[in-house]
Symmetry: C2
Subunit: 429 residues, 2 copies
């Protein structure tokens, strides 16, 4: 981590309004799109518990559930009550908290599981079964007729208890499309609340997601939930493509934790959706709370926030190249699609390095109130670059030193000529 004094905090100077009107980077318009109308099913307490390092005790689960509720997620999904005795008790405890978020639990498509789930107090049950030929052969070994029969039995039972129900396939993108659409239509007709599409292995690409969800949108009238693993780096883009194609619900977890390298991260999804419709996202979710939730979960599963994390990574709002710094100082929206202050974050412009530019240096000169002409600032910038070529960790103090020496050289009648420049460079070598 660089010395923070290397950086310069810049006030937001944007005069642009936030109106989405004429927003050139809004979603591709479509009557199908739910980019400005979606719900989050937050699965840190289910998918997240499948992360290698995750062990959540009751107190931790409650803390995380309350934080997600305060953030404004629409649903909180919990580990199956059949996983273990404590899992069942924790599920019951969270249902009793009286949160605004609806509480779901996630079970296999089996009456044994369904009977336990409906007694926990949840608002809804998420049912899943593997439909791909891979899973049918190597996991549960059941055929589509059996899967359909089980699905109908479980769905009708859960509905009879007045509880919301979702039916999802697993590994949907390696399933037979006819099998998939057939079972989705069947469960839609018997009144399932949502069908789920899951990229369980993280193989899908956005165009595949768009095509499958758009086709499904024409087959069922219920809501469509989507779940994307991130093995090949498309979990956020796939969620976005799904919403463009008419999906209604997106599964997330905090920092994306889950099986293997995880799923669509809550923060990353917020970045993506904010870029398309900032007003909708800001009105619905408590964005400045994101950092705290990520810190909480990172601590519990003993990982660091990735250096390149969306929004909250340490350099997410740091601008370095001279050409970027100059433009950011003129208008932050030139190189920023996200306003840091909307997330409780701060912008930095880094100027003490060899890629710096004279416009960025000039803004520091102005802060220091040094009377230098543009030509003199350009000359001083060359001195900064000289020092940066030999000094890896250049602080704002180093920059200020050069500017002061430069200013003194002018007052001495010899602009840019001072033995002190050489001293600074020799000391750094």
């Amino acid at each position: 981590m660089p010395d923070k004094s290397e950086f310069q905090v810049v006030e937001n100077q944007s005069n642009l309004t936030n109106k989405n009107v004429n927003n050139p980077y809004a979603g591709v318009d479509s009557f199908l799109s739910n980019v400005s109308n979606f719900q989050i099913i937050e699965s840190t307490l289910r998918e997240g518990e499948q992360f290698a390092n995750a062990f959540f005790d009751t107190e931790t689960k409650i803390k995380i559930a309350k934080a997600l509720d305060a953030f404004g997620v629409d649903y909180i999904e919990l580990t199956s009550p059949t996983a273990s005795e404590q899992s069942r008790k924790d599920c019951e405890a969270i249902c009793k908290l009286g949160l605004k978020s609806k509480i779901l639990t996630h079970i296999r498509c089996h009456m044994d599981d369904a009977r336990v789930a409906v007694e926990t107090g949840v608002d809804g049950v998420d049912v899943v079964i593997g439909t791909s030929s891979f899973l049918r052969e190597f996991s549960h070994g059941k055929d589509m007729a059996y899967i359909t029969k089980s699905a109908i039995e479980v769905i009708e039972f859960v509905k009879s208890k007045g509880i919301e129900i979702r039916f999802s396939s697993e590994d949907s993108f390696r399933s037979d499309i006819v099998d998939l659409l057939s079972i989705y239509r069947t469960v839609d007709r018997i009144g399932v609340n949502r069908v789920g599409v899951a990229d369980t292995v993280g193989c899908a690409s956005p165009r595949q997601v768009y095509d499958l969800v758009r086709t499904l949108r024409g087959v069922v009238s219920c809501d469509i939930e989507t779940h994307f693993h991130n093995d090949t780096g498309c979990a956020i883009a796939n969620a976005y493509a799904a919403l463009e194609a008419g999906a209604t619900h997106i599964d997330t977890s905090v920092l994306g934790i889950g099986e293997r390298n995880g799923i669509t991260p809550l923060g990353g999804l917020m970045a993506r959706m904010y870029a398309s419709d900032p007003e909708y996202v800001k009105a619905k979710y408590n964005l400045p709370a994101l950092r705290e939730i990520e810190n909480l979960v990172a601590k519990e599963v003993e990982v660091n926030i990735p250096f390149n994390n969306y929004i909250t990574g340490f350099s997410a709002f740091t601008h370095k190249a001279g050409i970027h710094a100059k433009a950011i100082l003129n208008n932050p929206t030139t190189y920023e699609i996200l306003k840091p202050e909307d997330f409780g974050m701060t912008r930095y412009v880094s100027i003490g390095h060899r890629l710096t530019g004279w416009n960025a240096v000039k803004s520091r000169v102005d802060q220091l109130n040094l009377p230098l002409s543009d030509e003199q600032v350009k000359d001083a910038t060359q001195k900064i670059k000289q020092l940066a070529d030999v000094k890896s960790q250049m602080s704002m103090d180093d920059v200020d030193n050069i500017l002061r020496v430069y200013h003194a050289s002018i007052e001495a009648g010899e602009p840019g000529q001072s033995p002190e420049f050489n001293t600074l460079i020799e000391r750094a070598q």
Copy 2:
């Protein structure tokens, strides 16, 4: 980090061939697609130097360049020789290494920069200028007529020196489409080698990328390079969409380092492309070298490899939920789109936790050569779950302990009945 003894290494049991024939998760077929025919422009030594923490001295640059060359990247892009005196010397030094990768440098669209660049010994020059109204107003303040004139002058000059040349717009997705296509057609006609499309602010979505690149593909006959920032989580998916639409070159950096939270990461792109065409990717790039390159760069810029990093993150090949573990033990391709051994990595199946399943436990029982029936393994699995409910860091030793006590209880004629189970749980509480 969990105790590694918690995990169980599983040999690859896949008998499936790697043939892409009938690969259900291959790219959407299209005559435009370059998913199985693309080149990498590796920009760790240019874009990566714009990362907040990056300061590469000459020795480090050479080490990184050699590692990238050995990995097999097609191009290595370097910081402009005009950035600083040392930047110019480093550029010359890397050109003299005689690497297989072609060497590029990246300059502003200006004759002052071009004259310096062509003297460094590079194979090609990447020229960039901001074309969006944002950048034209707040960055360089130049109009399209001026931009076109400068572009032609620089391109003709660089070509006259027998050096490859690319012309890229900056912030392409917020630029006027007519302006963009007009200047791209102009530079294509005067013989530029590549045109570049850059999502400088990280706002683009895959469908926007596909649309723009497909349109561009119909306008120019030269190669198309693309550059994607990751602020909204689409940098890998956008690169993939660009290739589907006919782009030929993708910009990457190691771990994605660059301005703000960076660009398309080399490793993440490998994961994505491998999922679509493993044979092409394995033949062209030295995948097992990826981890070493990432470690090298991570050390130099003083960051940790993100816990959820593609391929090399510590849990990228860890399987935890019982249903996953069971299927992976039957056939790894059920829940794995990437074969860990192709990247020099190892698969782990985690079984000491409350989400475990009896099939995964059974495989451990077999390894220990304990003569337990399926019913007995199921019963023993419940004991493991009981202990896991109270013990967050359960090692493989803990699992083995339970299995041995269970086995002893059978030999004692009282299956599952032993005071030792309670002792284990009490000790953990």
